[in-house]
Structures are given as C-alpha cells and as structure tokens.
C-alpha cells in the first residue's frame, strides 16, 4: 500500500484562488453575446382567478422582445415534476406560468423578454392583470379542517398525501408504561437563502438543434432528464451546465418553473435568454424548508426505559409539489428513533396544501425535525422523571456492539459509538461544574441552561431503492498522455470543496502530485452521468465512485507496468507513483510513463484496450449514520428575553475524515444555520397568505456577531458501507445543533415551569413565558 499523504490532512482548497479574486463564473457572470433578459411578473395574491391579462403596453415598450403568459404557453411545456413516489399522492398540475389561477404569492404569471434587464423590469409595471381574489388558506392545520378554502378545487380537501412507517404495538407500550409524555411541536418554515439566488441562462442552437441550459443547480444531470420530459425535447440534445454555484442548501436540488420556462423561451425565440432571481423572488418562489407540525407521545418506564414513541405530523406542502416535497416526511419518520433503542415506533404524516410556496429539502431535509422531536422528548422525559438528561440518554443509547443496529423504523444504522462522543463533549464542557454553577446562579436570579443533542443522522443518500431517482454516483478517472489525471464526477459541488477532497484521494492512490489532478463537474457534456450533490452524499457516494475508479486505473497501470518491465504484477510494488520490481528497486516505471505507454499502446498486454481510464458507478448498500453530541450553554435574560450562548461544544463523528479543515467548515456552517432556526429564522405568512418576511429586512439570518465562539472535537467511527469508511458531514451541524440550543433555553427556564418552547426562540416569547414568575 502506498503511504497515505494527503487524505486525512488539511489541504488548502484548490477552488479558492479563483474565488477570493472574484474570477470565478456564477451564472450571472457568464458573458455571452446577444443575451436577452427575462423578468417575471408574479402574483401579488395568495389565491386568485386571472380573468384577463393586458400585455399591450408592455409589448409596445421599445426594447421589449416578447411578453408571454400561461395561455401563450398552453400545453407546449409540461408540468414541473415531482419525483417523490407515494400511492396516496395528489399531484396538481404545475405549469411554468399560471394557467387561469394563482395559488401563492410569487407564482409566475407572465414573463417579459427584453434587450436589457432595466427595460424588462420597466415592462413588468406595464402588464395589467385582472385578478379576482379567491379565498386563501395559509395555516396548515386550518387547511386540513373541513370547510377550509380549497387550494385545488378538483379535490374535496387539501389533503396532499398520507404516509406512515414504524413497527411495534404502541397500545402495549402505553399499557406497560409508568409515564406518558406528550408534546406538540411546530417546525417553522425556513428560507434556505443561499447568498447567490437562482439564475438560468438558456441558449438554443437552431442549426445543431441543441439546447444548453446554465443553471445554478445542485443536480445538472437530473435537471437535464427532467427538462427533456417537461419540454418533450430529446435528452441527448440537451446540455445542462451548473457553473460556479453560490450555495444551495437543498433549494437548488430541484427543478423549477423558471428553468423550463427559460429553456422554452430560448427555443421559441431561437435566442439566448437569461433570468437572475431577485432576493424577493427568492423569498417568494424558491422552496422553503421544514413546515411541519406534529405531536409526539412517548411511553416510558420509571427507570427511564423508553418503550415506544409515536409522532403524528402534518406537512405544509404549499400549493404545488416541487421535486421532493412529499419526500420530506419519510426522512423524519425514518430517523425518529434517534440514537436510542426504542422497540416501538410509529410515525404518521399528512400533507396539506396551503396557498404558499412549496416546501422541500432544506439542509437536513426532514431529519432536523426528527432530531428536534426525539432530543426534546428526551429532555421532557428526563424532566418528568426528575432524571439527569445525560443519564437518560446513556440508559437508552444503542451500544457499539449493537451495530449494525436494526431500528424499528426499518433502517439499519451502520456504525456508531454514541457514548464516546457524549463523554468527550461532557469533558470539554465541564458538565459537573456547570450544574453546580447553574444552581448557584439561580439563587442570584440568573438563569443558566444546559442543553444536549446526542443526534444521529442519515447520510450518503443513498441506496437507489430508497430514493426517487437513483442513489448511485459516477466517477471517472483518466490519465492522459502526459500523466496528468482528470476526474469526472457526477456530484455537483457548490461550496463543499470536492475539487480538493477528490483530488486528495486520487493523488494519494495514483502517487501523483495533487496539482496534476483536475476534478471536473457540473456539465452533462463533460461528465457522462451523475445524480448530484445533496443528502451529504458527496464524499461518501461520489467520493467512493472516484476512489473505486482510481483503484481500477491503478490495476490497469500495474498490468501495463508488469508488461513493460517484463515481470508479473505480483512482483511489483507501488510507492510514490512508481511501480518497481520487489527487491530490485532500480527496475521500475513511473505511473506517468505507464500513462504514456497506455496511449502509445505498443507495449500493452495482449488484448488490453489502450488508454488509462476507468469509470465506476457506486451503488451504496446502505445509508451512513453520522452522529455526535452538541452541548449548548445559555444564559437567559428573563427581563429582555435575550439569550446569550455562553459556550458551545460540538463533538461530531462523520467516520473517516479526508480533509479536517473542510469537515470543520461544514460543521461550523451547519451550526450557523441550526442556530438560525433555533433563534432567528422564520418565514411568516399572514392569515391571507401574504408573505410578511418577503426580504432580508424581515427575515433574519445569522451574522458574525450572532455566532458564539464554538469548540470542536471529533470521534472517528468508520462506516462499513464504503471502502474509505466515510460518512458525510454536510448536514450534521444543522441537524445536531438546533435541539441543543432549544433544550438549553428550556432548561434555563425550568424554574418558571417552562417545559417547551417552539422555535424561533425570539425575545418576546421568552419574556412572555417568564411573566408568571418562578414556580
């Protein structure tokens, strides 16, 4: 085996020099001749019938090329796709421009194509739409009650689907339990807010009959396939390019109206068209995350043994399904057991249409809901039993020997050592002293709280059987004449740094300098096939494909080397990029020389194809299950309602680590978003479906000052699911952090009789809870 040099070490990112100089190309940075600009008119109503559209004045504005609305498009473009399968699913038509009715604020109604963006914007003001407002429903629970206004009048209710999973006999668990704990949870809607909004450029080449679409997407290959279906245009004539992408967090794991619309306009006008989403459009019309309401019930013995848990929930789907909208609840249901051995688990979900934009995958996608529910439930149980929350967790943890761990939701967790992560975090935070300090401060009327989250999450999405559109990933490794390696990957990074981590893997295993490895991605004409970047699958699925292709390249290289050196492959050893004959170190050939031979093709073993490349398509046999412990210590000012995070400790285990610096970055960024959900963020619609948080003026995301100093550590429990033992880390911070913050605040306010608070924990809520005084 070659000595591992780069894997496991902090290698500075290769993508950064272009990024820190502002020299990279996001969609809006692409310079092309004769680009027409598109602006989109959106519904100001949550629900309305469109009785007429007058485009005359807009069309007459000099510089305007075309103005189109739903009627112009008719059925020439199909419905925006939803890939999630569910036999109970009601899937409403999802046209690229509203057809006669609008169902959420921000729904696209018409598009202006103009010579420049200023003119396109001016033209929007000249389009007159005759709306007839219809009753709208914004609140999820109301939407599912009889008599609610209907979002889609073809159905008799707003029910979008139902889903359930789990096993065991909850009645029996209840009967055997000493204590039943119940709690309702609201998982507020969140806006993903990548700092780069969405954007699309579409270009039609009439001569070649080809369509190229540049989109700020996480899934270029899936987008290509979906566009083919929606447009009725052959897939092999479509090229999708995800250029530099400025963050996604799940919201670009989707196929949007604007992508199909722009492609359609490009073909219709035989032109290049461009649309860049504004931030207000982004708040209105890019998917939101979470949007769940549910009630947990836990049946527990006096000693803390958990016999069973049910979680009955509702999902606010919004008005139309996006790619994976109905696919979120299953991810919650599957993970409701957390890191605990719970024999009986039952999860139900009912989707409800509302007059709002769709919900879909936002960082964590369904798992933050599960983690919040089970981690809060653990604290509720601990409080009920007057047990230390740490003790309760210890008691119910799955033990290292239990793995692979069958879980009552139907999953089998791959590997884990929950106790070890917890112990490390407890030591770092100084738990025993903290409890003493908490007690002391309470006597002074100061309220310190300690919150835990001993989370586990599901990553490395995933086995194809469990995903709507394939869960494999492709990797190609090719060495060319001069011994440089080109890697093609089907994942589509947008900040995760795979141009670096994948190159680390290839560099080590081929024994070539990392500078000699290029990692290409995000272009369907360059990368043969792929699925994309989401579900913390980059390194664990995509990276594994690259790893396996690298091994195949090396095997072929070895066979060529043996042939050139006239020995058998068994006689060769490989070190530092050189094959040499064992015991005869002088007799050898570098892998670069082998690459040349592979292309010159005169000294190849009989029957071997020339060239030195391999493609591997990795199909994971299971998900991976990263885990860890986050501990948050807060002090609450009960007069102002303000929460100060005094200390935050995160111990995460994502299996083997390829690049610790990048892993740290993923965890830190994830925590910032988890903290955002806990303390700041909330999409608010009013009762009539008007979006109140329509811009960053009203929707708060964490800024540098909002983040406390964080302390980090890791444990490393390899995954048996893939050869490198990696698990994935993209979502861990978001999933793990939120419950620890909420638990800490609830703990701080225990003297006030507070047992639960729904997020975001805004000062006013806290203040109100403290109005009754201590109990």
């Amino acid at each position: 085996m070659p000595v591992s040099k780069l894997v496991g070490t902090k290698v500075k990112r290769r993508e950064d020099p272009r990024l820190v100089q502002g020299l990279s190309h996001y969609v809006d940075d692409l310079r092309m001749a004769d680009v027409l600009q598109v602006a989109i008119l959106r519904s100001p109503h949550a629900h309305a019938r469109i009785n007429g559209i007058d485009k005359g004045a807009a069309q007459a504005l000099p510089g305007v090329v075309s103005v189109v609305n739903g009627a112009d498009i008719g059925d020439s473009v199909g419905s925006v796709p939803c890939a999630a399968a569910n036999p109970t699913l009601r899937t409403p038509p999802h046209p690229v421009l509203a057809q006669g009715e609008v169902r959420y604020v921000g729904e696209p109604v018409a598009a202006v194509v103009a010579e420049d963006s200023y003119t396109a914007r001016d033209a929007l003001d000249l389009i007159e739409v005759d709306y007839e407002p219809l009753p709208a429903v914004s609140d999820l629970e109301k939407a599912l009650q009889p008599g609610s206004p209907l979002v889609h009048s073809q159905w008799d209710s707003n029910q979008a689907f139902t889903f359930e999973c789990g096993t065991g006999d909850m009645d029996k668990a209840r009967a055997e339990a000493d204590v039943i704990v119940k709690q309702k949870f609201i998982h507020q809607r969140l806006a993903p807010i990548p700092v780069e909004t969405r954007g699309v450029v579409a270009r039609y080449f009439p001569g070649e009959g080809e369509l190229t679409v540049w989109s700020s997407t996480q899934i270029p290959h899936l987008l290509r396939a979906m566009l083919a279906l929606v447009l009725g245009f052959p897939e092999h004539r479509i090229r999708v390019i995800a250029p530099e992408v400025g963050g996604g967090f799940g919201c670009k794991l989707n196929v949007y109206r604007e992508e199909a619309l722009l492609a359609h306009l490009a073909m219709k006008l035989k032109a290049t068209v461009k649309w860049i989403e504004g931030r207000r459009e982004n708040m209105q019309a890019t998917i939101h995350g979470r949007g769940q309401v549910g009630t947990v019930e836990a049946a527990v013995k006096k000693d803390g043994t958990i016999l069973g848990v049910t979680y009955d929930s509702l999902l606010d789907t919004g008005a139309y399904h996006q790619l994976l909208t109905p696919g979120m609840p299953p991810l919650t249901g599957l993970m409701i057991s957390g890191s605990y051995k719970i024999p009986t688990l039952k999860f139900t979900s009912t989707g409800g249409f509302t007059n709002k934009v769709a919900t879909d995958a936002y960082r964590g996608a369904g798992r933050p809901e599960a983690t919040l529910v089970i981690e809060r439930t653990m604290d509720l149980i601990a409080r009920e039993l007057d047990m230390d929350p740490v003790e309760l967790r210890r008691k119910n943890f799955a033990q290292p020997a239990d793995f692979p761990l069958p879980v009552a939701t139907g999953l089998a967790y791959d590997s884990g050592n929950y106790q070890a992560a917890l112990d490390k975090a407890l030591e770092m935070v100084g738990y025993d002293d903290l409890r003493a300090e908490q007690k002391r401060l309470r006597e002074e009327g100061r309220y310190l709280g300690i919150g835990f989250s001993t989370y586990v999450e599901i990553c490395a999405m995933g086995p194809s059987a469990a995903l709507p559109a394939g869960g494999w990933e492709s990797g190609t490794v090719r060495m060319d004449f001069t011994g440089k390696a080109t890697v093609l990957t089907g994942v589509s990074p947008h900040g995760q740094g795979e141009e670096t981590t994948f190159a680390q893997i290839v560099s080590d295993d081929l024994g070539i300098p990392i500078e000699d490895v290029a990692v290409l991605h995000g272009d369907t004409a360059v990368v043969p096939n792929g699925i994309g970047t989401f579900g913390s699958r980059g390194i664990s699925v995509g990276g594994t494909a690259v790893y396996m292709a690298t091994q195949q390249v090396r095997e072929k290289a070895e066979a060529i080397a043996a042939n050139v050196l006239e020995c058998s492959a068994e006689d060769l050893e490989f070190e530092d990029g050189k094959f040499s004959v064992k015991g005869v170190p002088d007799k050898g050939i570098t892998i670069q020389e082998v690459a040349l031979q592979a292309h010159v093709a005169t000294k190849l073993p009989a029957g071997m194809e020339p060239g030195l490349q391999a493609t591997s398509v990795f199909e994971p046999s299971n998900f991976t299950f990263p885990f860890g412990t986050h501990i948050c210590v807060v002090e609450v000012d009960t007069h102002s309602g303000e929460i100060e995070i005094k200390k935050y400790v995160a111990v995460d285990d994502c299996g083997k680590v390829i690049n610790p610096m990048i892993v740290d970055g993923q965890v830190q960024g994830g925590i910032a978003q988890g903290l955002g959900q806990a303390l700041l963020e909330e999409v608010v619609y009013d009762e009539d479906g008007q979006l109140v948080t329509g811009s960053l003026m009203d929707y708060a995301v964490a800024r540098a000052e909002d983040l406390p100093p964080l302390e980090f550590a890791r444990t490393e429990t390899p995954s048996p699911v893939n050869p490198m033992g990696v698990k994935g880390v993209g979502e861990a911070g978001t999933i793990g952090s939120t419950p620890s913050i909420v638990n800490a605040v609830v703990d701080a306010l225990a003297p006030f009789g507070v047992t639960h608070i729904d997020m975001p924990l805004k000062p006013e809520k806290i203040w109100r809870l403290c109005q009754g005084g201590t109990k």
Partner: protein, 285 residues
Amino acid sequence: MIPAAFDYIVPDSLEAAAASLADGGENAKVMAGGHSLLPMMKLRLAQPSVVIDLKRLDSLRQIQADGGALRIGALVTHHQVETSSEVNENCPLLALTAGSIGDPQVRNRGTIGGSVVHGDPAADWPAALLALGAEVTLTSSGGSRSVAAGDFFLGPLTTAAEPNEILTGVSVPVPAAGTRATYRKVKQKASGFAIVGIAVCLRTDGDTCTDVGIGVTGLAGTPFRATAAEDQLRGKALTADAVAAAAAQVAEGVDALGDIHASGEFRSHLARLNTARAIQDALDG
C-alpha cells in the same frame, strides 16, 4: 432591484439646489447618501422624476463646535460623526448613536441630514437628538428656519420639513461638563434598525438629578421625548425606585407599534426596561 428612470441634477450651490427643488415640485427628491432613498427607489416604492444630488455642497459636510453648540452639516455621514474628535469630546452620545446605525458600509454613506428628514420611526438619530434638545435648520428658496427636534418628527416618514426645503444641518447644545449620556438599542435582527432605542442624557448633583433628557425611537410611529418620565426624575434622588417609577412612564399613553418582530406590548416593555437600564448605565458609566 432596478429603479424607475429619472432626471439627475447635481447643483453646485445650496441656492441652486433649493431652486431645482422648487422647480421640480412634488416629484423632485434631493439625495444625500441615498441609503434610504435608493432602497425605496429600487423597490419602486419611490419613483421621483427628478433626483437632486447634494454631493457637491461641501459646506454641508462640516462639523463645528462653537458657542456652546455642535453644528453638524446635513451631509456629514454617520461614520464621520462616529469618528469625529469634536463630537467625541463634546458630545459622545452622538458618536455612540452614529456607531449603532446599520453597518460600516451604511455608515460610510448615510448622512445625518438624510436620516433626520427621512423620518423613519425606527431610525436611531431621533432618540439622541430629542434627548439633547437639538435643532435642525432648513433652507428653501423662500429662506431659512430652525425647528426644534421635538417639533420636527411628525409621524412615520413624515417630518416638519416641507417638500421644497433642504435640511442644512443639525445643531446640538453641547451638554454641560459632567453630563452623562448613553444610548441603548434593541436591534431588529434582520434589518438592524431599532425595535426600541432609548437615549438618556443626565446631569446630577450628588445623587440628585438636576436635568435629564430621554429620547425614544422605535416604540411609536413618531420618535418622541419622554417628558413624563423626565419630570419624574428632575430634582429627585436617583434611587432604584425613582428610576423604576420614571421608566414606568416612558410608554404611558403611547400608541406602540407592533409587528412580527415585537408586539406593541413587548415594545412598550422594552422601552421601560431599557430606559431604566440606560439611566443605570449612564450613572455607572
């Protein structure tokens, strides 16, 4: 993101600016830093047909301390106030207030004059200007006048400045030696504007409050001076009870604003809480 079209004028003198403004009528707007006007124009909430950029009026960029007053020209940026030695020596409350506005980039462009005329009920400047008893000066082609801060703010985005008037500066009486002052701001987390902002300016003789000014912003549609609370303190010993009693007056009779960030009830509470804390801070400071 894209403003509607307009004509752009850059006058060389105050007189010319005032004349252009008079000519332009209702649809003309002067622009100082543009950090309130342009955001509204980008959202097309404002669509002036003429924009008169004051940037060449260098005479409005001065800060001068003379005759017991600090005169700050309308075009002085928040950053200039924050870092000015005249201000920090004579009236640190103004520097403190300036530093609490927006963020560094905003403070580099936004001006005190623009903020004051804009009349945003959540802006920071009014609290300090009210607490200090400042005056603003206005000029139009018809002449000049001064208006006390207490008479200037009339409602949300409404001030005593007439559409044809240009604010030329703010004049703040330099507080007597020994005056203690502070500004407490509860930030709206998304926009950074004030949910509530309380400026307190306090003079004491021993334990006794000899004079006090309390300016309140954010709480209501109009920033105001909390005279009832001030009256509770003036001439009294500053005991904890007296401070609490005064703070309790701050939101009395006020029609408090409420939104998704804070209800009227909570805003009122925050005003009371931060008044008490601000007085304490000033005493401790």
